[in-house]
Symmetry: D3
Subunit: 67 residues, 6 copies
C-alpha cells in the first residue's frame, strides 16, 4: 500500500488532547513536534495512545513557506 | 510576529520544480524532506532559491495519521 | 519575514468562541467578517483577545469560487 | 441553496493565469485581492472570465492568523 | 449558481455529532458515508438535521490517493 | 496499516491529466467521479495508470456541505 501524500513523518505520540468532536494529537518526530487535529472518532477507531508509533501524513498542497 | 500555525519546520531548500501556475518546493528538515506546492507567483515574490533557509508551515487541521 | 500564503487580510478580532480543542476566531476585515478555526492551544500561545489586530492568512489552494 | 462555508467574499475577477492542470484566479474584493488556485477544468466549466462577478469561498478550518 | 469545487456528492444526513465549536456531520452517499467537520455555527445557520438532503463538497486539491 | 482519514472511497482511475508540477486524477467511485489534484511526482512514484484500483482519501475537515 502506497500513499500519494508526499510528506510522511514517522514518530511517537507524546500527547493526546481529546475533545468532544475533534482531538489534538502531538507526535515527536526527531527533534520536532507535529500537531494534528483529527476527529475523536478516528482517535478511537485507531485506538491511538501515548507511546504509539504513527506516521504523520501531510499533502504537499497544504504546506506554506516563511522566508 | 507570531503565527497560529502549530507546525513550523525550519530547513533549507534543496529543489524547486517551477511550473506554469504552481511550483513544488522541497525543503530538507533534519533527516526529512518536506514538499510544498505553492503558486509560482509566491516563489517569485519571495525570490525562493536553492540553498535558502525557510520554514515550512503546516496547519494542525491538515495533518492525518497512519498507524 | 515573508510568507508564501497569497491571501493576507488584516483586521480586528471581534469574537472568540473557545472550545475544548479548537476555537473559532472572527475577524472584521473592512466590511467583511473572516472566521477561522484554530487550536485552542494557538489561541492561548498567541494570547488572542477581542480587539487584537491580526492578519488572516489563507493559502490560494484553499479558495473555491461560486459563480 | 446555502453553503456551510463560513467565509464568502463577493468580488470581480481581475486576472486569470491559466495553467495546464490548475489555474490561478484573482478576485478584487473591496480593497483586497483574493487569489485562488482551482482546476483549469473548473475555470472552463464555469466559463470564468475577467470581469465576472464571483464569490470566493473559504472554509473556516483553512484560515490561520498572524499576530 | 455554480461552484468550482469539482466533487459534489449528494446524500442524506444520517448523523450529527454536535460539539462546542465544530460538529461532525455524516452523510450517506449511495453505499458510502462521507464525514465532514464544520463549525457548529454553520450547523445552526443551515439548520442541519438528520434526514436532510445535502451535497458534500470537496475541492480536488484536498483529495489524496492510496494504491 | 490504518489511516485516520475518515473518508476512503475505492474506485478505478478513468482519467489522468498530467501537468508540469501537479496532475488531475479522476476516479470512478460507483456512480460518482472523484477528482484529485496531486503532484506529478506522486503520479510517477505510485506509477498511476488508467484502470488502476485506488482509494480516494479525504480528511473530514476538508468537507463542506450545501443545503
Amino acid at each position: 500500500m502506497q500513499l500519494s501524500g508526499r510528506n510522511q513523518l514517522p514518530g511517537e505520540i507524546i500527547e493526546i488532547k481529546k475533545g468532544d468532536v475533534v482531538s489534538e494529537v502531538v507526535v515527536q518526530v526527531g527533534e520536532h513536534r507535529i500537531s494534528g487535529v483529527i476527529t475523536t472518532t478516528s482517535v478511537e477507531n485507531l485506538n491511538l495512545k501515548i507511546g504509539d508509533r504513527v506516521t504523520a501524513l501531510i499533502k504537499a498542497t497544504e504546506v506554506s513557506f516563511i522566508k
